[in-house]
Structures are given as structure tokens and as C-alpha cells.
Symmetry: C2
Subunit: 128 residues, 2 copies
């Protein structure tokens, strides 16, 4: 498979796939013409990475998860810890965004949104 084939199969852009090789997440073989030649295992790894990224794991987490995946002697506790730490980060981020959303929803609701200059949003930001 060439890069565009595996890109279609995994949903990852070719640029991203090249980047993942650059940082050592995958090591596709090369044809004599220099083209990357992807095996099934490469496609599988890329799909794995795509799903891990879709769950918001960082590249470094992905590297760890991939290594654990390939390690038959792993402890599931190690996987769980990575996932739990990441979940914690997401929950923190959620709390922060919810707080922003609540404040903004309130402010937007207060603002007339007409042609007059008087605006509670700006008043709040300026703490007038």
C-alpha cells in the first residue's frame, strides 16, 4: 500500500502519517523508488493511533499505549493509569469550559444586541 491508500483506510491525512513516522510512531518499509510501502501491521497501528487521538490522548500517551499494546507481558494496570490520568485532564478541562460557558451564556443573555453602545458584556470585562 502507498501512503494515500493507507490514508483512505485509516482516515488520517498523508501529512499526519509522515509526521507519525518522523516522530517514530511507525516505521513503514520503503520501495526501491523511495515510496513508503505500508503493511497491514502499519495500517493497524495507524488506525490504533487515530482512535487514541480521537479520544484525546496526547502523542506521548499514544506512544505509551502502542508500546503497551505490543507488549504481551503488560499489566492492564499500566494501561488503566494512562487512561485515568487522561480522563482526569479531560474532566478538569470540562469544568473549566463549563464555567466559561455559564458566564458567557449569562452575559450573552443580558446583552440587548442592538445598535446601542450600552453592553453588559463589556461592562463585565471592564469591571465597571
Amino acid at each position: 500500500m502507498n501512503i494515500s491508500d493507507v490514508a483512505k483506510r485509516t482516515g488520517l491525512p498523508p501529512k499526519t502519517i509522515r509526521y507519525y513516522e518522523d516522530i517514530g510512531l511507525i516505521r513503514p518499509a520503503r520501495d526501491t523508488n523511495g515510496y513508503r510501502r505500508f503493511q497491514e501491521t502499519d495500517a493497524h497501528k495507524l488506525a490504533f493511533l487515530g482512535r487514541a487521538r480521537a479520544l484525546g490522548f496526547s502523542i506521548e500517551d499514544c506512544r505509551t499505549l502502542l508500546a503497551l499494546y505490543e507488549d504481551e507481558t503488560r499489566a492492564s494496570a499500566d494501561v488503566k493509569r494512562v487512561a485515568q490520568d487522561h480522563l482526569k485532564q479531560i474532566e478538569d478541562k470540562l469544568a473549566q469550559l463549563e464555567s466559561m460557558r455559564d458566564t458567557l451564556t449569562h452575559l450573552v443573555h443580558e446583552c440587548a444586541g442592538d445598535s446601542r453602545p450600552d453592553c453588559p458584556i463589556l461592562k463585565d470585562l471592564a469591571r465597571e
Copy 2:
């Protein structure tokens, strides 16, 4: 006021304040020795920026909001539009993070987290 004074008052790091000058959000005066000399209006603008950033507005949004704040002839509708667009972005991001959280919560719950290699988290990522 020197930069560290206004940093204390606004809660923004000196680095951030210099950066805001760099990109033209503020224009503090200079003393003969080259030090920035902050007026009340500068401190006020920086506090405004700090609060807008805390609500998650991008720097470009902050630039727009600051310009609207200083424009006595603004229409509150223009402010409201910026805030509503931003609110929409936050709500989209929240939905995305909530989806990640739900999936991760489920997976973490399924995983024994012991010394055995069997792991539903990896199974899910690999779509085995």
C-alpha cells in the same frame, strides 16, 4: 508603574504583558531609561484582556473586544456576536470532550487494572 507592578495588579506575567505590547494590544509609554511606564489606562486594558482571556476569547477576539470597548459609537450587537460565536465554539468543544469522557469512563470502568495483560481499553483501540 513598572512592568512588575502592573503584573502584580493584573495577575498577568511580565512576559505576557510584553507579548501583548509586541502584538499591539497595548502601547505603554517609555521612560528615558527604556523601561515601560504603565499608566492607569494601560493597567485597565490589561485587566480587561486578562478577563477576556480567562473567558477563553482568542487574542484576535480580545483585540476586537478592546476596540469595541473603546469605541463609544459601537453597537452592542457587534459585541454580542463575538461572544455568541465564542460561546458556540465552547459548546462544540464541550460536546466533544463529553463524548471522550463518556467513552473513557466506560473503558476505565471495564479495565481490571491488575497485573494481567488482558485489557478492554487496548482492545477497543485496536478494534479487535
